[in-house]
Assembly symmetry: C2
Homo-oligomer: 244 residues x 2
DNA sequence: CGTCCGTTTGAGGATCATCAATGTCCGTGG
DNA sequence: CCACGGACATTGATGATCCTCAAACGGACG
């Protein structure tokens, strides 16, 4: 049941690492580590490392803000419970993602591990103090949050689609871009369950299932074991992804 | 055709103002001005004020980053053109909103005025330099971007709904909370067109129309002139909003 | 008064949610 | 070694909702 943790994508020698894209122009447009070695070391000095088994709640929505987290190993999900009891996954969290930035002293989403995970945990006040003292470090956080804002907008674009197969294809495409370079020869790892997928894509569990079937039947994507996928027909795949 | 600009919600005596919610605990949870007087004055020193007529493009997606903007008066929209030609409005921008934070030196969305608008325009490098110099100022920007991240997530929750009337009701509810306190006796101003609404809610133009009709027919909301709405049956309205 | 643009309304077709049942994987225990 | 059980995933049938195409309506303005 406990799946293998997502392959670590970040060297963890000297402290937390943050993945993102700079606001200003740089060499290439790919996500990369935003922090310098000294910055990571300073963060590490006030951070504690926590290792959590899969399916552990890190914090709950509405709870009082106490720590800010930086993911180091594993995959997590951030979600909200709707009044009806339905769940909406706002985002999946991968190594190098920051979470726990609250509003008005309270967390907005509930965050839960999907795989085993290792996190850096930094006391809220300590981080705030450090950011106020180190503007360059803070600037990287600003870039990171801006990047997450974009991700949220992309999420909105995905769930705006009417066809389930298209949504799933876009999600796979995003995962593929996000994935660690050295993943298994074109196979996209899907650590999350079908239910998590459904809650992220805003589809019913059954529709996700039908979408995977459809992609398989049409020879566009192959699935294996429910937790891995591979693009077979790249042309059709891209056409589907861009058929918004 | 040119509609009245959104009632100014912010005193503009001494420079740009930013509306948002603090990350850490404060007195109440409502959006408010995040900047101190001195901060506003310092921003004003490097900002220029631009007044734009309705329907003016401020910048286009993919264009090179040159300025960061803070809205002062009026309403704008940020949208992306999809490959198919369809448009998705990512967010509406109100007085006190910041926009133009790019990725990798290029704007992500196209931003266009809806009403006449007045903006503060700050050269990218000048703002970056000022943020790196003034960590407290930057901290307010961080709070603002975090707040916009939440707004994006709420947007995702809205468009996740399956029923058009419910989406519209949630949107009205958001506008109502956002609205300047002294708006006209419970009337919610809708400066944007039905098309803008449709593109924000990810509905067809016709569905928006049918949704307004449905809300009217059911006696929940009254519309007037297409650019104002008022909640008639508050109980049913809230029930609909929370029926997710 | 007529045009133009934006909005509203109608009919038919496509897609997904829901309810229900069946199938698959995997660990457990006999 | 094999049978069992539970969680998860797939498949099928029906109904609800929205999108598309199409046409009628309305106000603003020359």
């Amino acid at each position: 049941m406990t799946r293998q943790a997502h392959a670590g994508t970040v060297l963890e020698d000297s402290g937390p690492s943050i993945r993102g894209i700079e606001i200003e122009k740089r060499t290439d447009g790919s996500a990369k580590g935003l922090l310098s070695e000294p910055q990571r070391q300073r963060l590490a000095a006030v951070a504690s490392v926590v290792s959590l088994p899969a399916r552990t709640i890190v914090y709950r929505a509405e709870a009082e803000l106490s720590w800010i987290f930086i993911s180091s190993v594993g995959v997590l999900k951030a979600y909200r419970e709707m009044p009806s009891g339905k769940r909406r996954v706002a985002s999946f969290l991968f190594p190098g993602d920051v979470f726990g930035l609250a509003e008005n002293g309270h967390y907005i989403n509930t965050v839960q591990t999907i795989t085993n995970a290792t996190l850096y945990r930094i006391p809220n006040e300590a981080l705030a103090a450090m950011l106020r003292r180190d503007a360059d470090l803070q600037f990287q956080f600003l870039a990171k949050v801006t990047h997450e804002l974009r991700q949220g907008q992309r999420h909105a674009i995905v769930i705006a689609r009417r066809d389930a197969a298209g949504r799933l294809a876009m999600f796979l495409s995003m995962l593929e871009k996000h994935a660690p370079a050295g993943s298994h020869a074109g196979w996209i790892q899907l650590p999350m369950s079908r239910t998590d997928l459904a809650e992220y894509l805003c589809l019913s569990l059954e529709s996700v299932s039908r979408a995977t079937s459809a992609l398989t039947r049409r020879g566009i994507v192959a699935f294996q074991g429910g937790h891995a996928a591979k693009v077979i027909d790249r042309v059709s795949f891209e056409k589907l992804v861009n058929a918004l």
